[in-house]
Symmetry: C2
Subunit: 363 residues, 2 copies
């Protein structure tokens, strides 16, 4: 079975074994060593020396945590959204009482740093800018370095959804000055969903002191204080931590540069392959993602029939979300994947496509 | 190793195997069947026909969910707290802007339904009453039937933390008229932490319509609407669901009545055993919990040394929390446990106790 959605991603055998480990006391010495070790080993993938906190939640929970830990109701926020997940980040801020200004980007395109700069000037000042590094719903990677550069011309905090990028695509938290960076365990980390990570920098901690959105479960300060004792405020997803510890062995053995290169190579192979099948890419190729590729569904093909045929052939891909539902399908190529997997996906696609075409109307 | 803290609890082999299953698409047909099956099979343990929602979070997240889905800032709430977890429930309501009135109960005692009735009359009206069914920090089970009876003389919602009770101790959601009931996967369910359950009744849904506390990740309505399609709003803790599905096989095979009887029997065996060792129970025996027993640490015994000696002897117990830190230790006897396990715990205690006693002062 080729599970090729943009997360959950397939689990290597060693990770599956680790998941089955017997429980331990989450307030005991073994857990304290585990969380310290995992936290320390994750940081290089974020290229950061900031605090790294583990939340028992989906990635969406981490987005909510970033908002409520740094903002107050009434704060003005710029949302650099280029798709469903960017919209979600903005909606969370709105629900908690922020006043959100959104960029307007055509689906499949990246955000234009010059347009972000223009909005920062014309509609600011903003307390924070919300940016999606890699938009999972369209398969687009934003030029975060350039966006960060224009954001830092102002005092705004930079809160980054890196859920489907960090660990698979190079991410420079400290160099880019990202104040909060978020991801989830079920992406490039090759472990099941259930654990989210939040990297919190000094300016975010400063904002936390005066931020008045209500928070309890998501409170970063509580997490940091418990982490100092090798614990979490509430009972953590222990088995996902076991798995992550082992997945980090695999990731470290391969090496960051090799991981990034493999993702770029697999993504390119997917793009070339679908084009050879006569399909059209949804995303602007200049900003095409290394972790997920969105492909336009031809007008004579039924998207759900195509996905069903593929599934019956052992390849699970994702459909479109929101406005793109039925109009695109998406190939997740992050985590445990290599060229041979890509070739299997493409072969299955070549078999399914003709069968998914609608019969031409008679007469 | 005997892991005997009040959660995480030990995992049976079949559960550990299920945890290691390969990932599936959380938006696909296999997952839809899984979540429908698990949800349906959990309801009998809550004795309910209400909606049952699965949240990817610790139990504390479920407490927060209950509050923000039913209440508005400024709402008056009665907290029937008898320990650390009751205080936590109240604190969450306070953080989100509720005006909280708290009962004052001596640690180790259950709440007095007559006192709850008095407060409801003298300090009401209240929008909701927060009750802990089983207080994990003191090993006390409240008489929820009696408390529910007095609460229902008013219009207040009844929100119940059943985290360390339901599944192990009889719980009658519908008969007692509990509007929201919460628990976590790492308790009597014999699976790892990471999944919380919320049972939501018609009056809670009614309250949800007008409740104005901000919510996104915890939104019950979003969870219900996704559940109708066999999904969750954000990526769920899939591996914990695999485990829970298998744990439910074990629980159903044993049968609810037998499970409850086994918990009562093991708890009684623990209590008799520690008393035979000359130790004193912390909780009022009339309300002693069937899932966790708190034991007073004798004045000549160092609590952390005792726990360390036990750990080195293969038995992991929990210390006291908050004001009881160093003054009590706690034995978790919920989930996968039987008489022989209790005997091993007691034998280890009998070995460790003399070694943990402080030397008498010289001269």
């Amino acid at each position: 079975m080729q599970l090729r959605i943009p997360g959950p991603t397939p689990l290597p055998d060693a990770v599956r074994e680790a998941l089955g480990r017997q429980m331990i006391n989450h307030r005991g010495p073994e857990f304290a060593e585990l969380i310290a070790r995992v936290t320390r080993r994750l940081k290089p993938f974020f290229q950061t020396t900031n605090d790294l906190l583990l939340l028992t939640a989906s990635g969406t929970g981490a987005l909510e945590a970033a908002v409520v830990n740094t903002l107050s109701p009434g704060d003005r926020v710029l949302s650099v959204s280029i798709g469903v997940f960017g919209d979600r980040f903005a909606e969370i801020a709105r629900v908690y009482g922020a006043e959100v200004v959104s960029t307007d980007v055509e689906p499949g395109r990246a955000a234009d740093p010059a347009e972000v700069a223009r909005l920062l000037e014309s509609s600011g000042p903003f307390k924070a800018v919300l940016v999606t590094h890699n938009e999972t719903s369209t398969g687009v990677t934003n030029d975060l370095a350039a966006i960060a550069e224009v954001v830092h011309r102002t005092d705004a905090l930079l809160l980054v959804d890196a859920i489907s990028s960090v660990g698979s695509i190079e991410f420079k938290t400290d160099e880019w000055g990202c104040d909060v960076v978020l991801t989830g365990s079920q992406k490039g980390w090759m472990v099941p969903p259930g654990l989210a990570m939040a990297v919190v920098g000094p300016r975010a901690w400063e904002a936390h002191k005066t931020a008045r959105m209500p928070r309890f479960y998501w409170d970063f300060a509580k997490h940091r204080s418990y982490l100092e004792r090798g614990q979490t405020p509430a009972t953590p997803a222990v088995s996902i931590l076991f798995a992550l510890d082992v997945a980090l062995d695999l990731l470290e053995r391969e090496g960051m540069e090799n991981i990034f290169a493999r993702h770029r190579r697999c993504a390119e192979r997917v793009r070339q392959g679908v084009k050879r099948l006569g399909l059209e890419l949804f995303a602007d190729e200049a900003h095409a993602s290394s972790t997920v590729t969105a492909v336009k569904v031809p007008s004579d093909v039924d998207a759900s029939r195509l996905l069903k045929l593929l599934r019956e052939d052992g390849v699970v891909l994702a459909g479109g979300q929101g406005a793109q539902s039925g109009r695109i399908f998406r190939v997740g190529h992050l985590g445990w994947i290599d060229d041979a997997d890509v070739d299997e996906i493409l072969a299955a696609l070549s078999r399914a496509l003709p069968l998914a075409r609608r019969m031409p109307a008679r007469g």
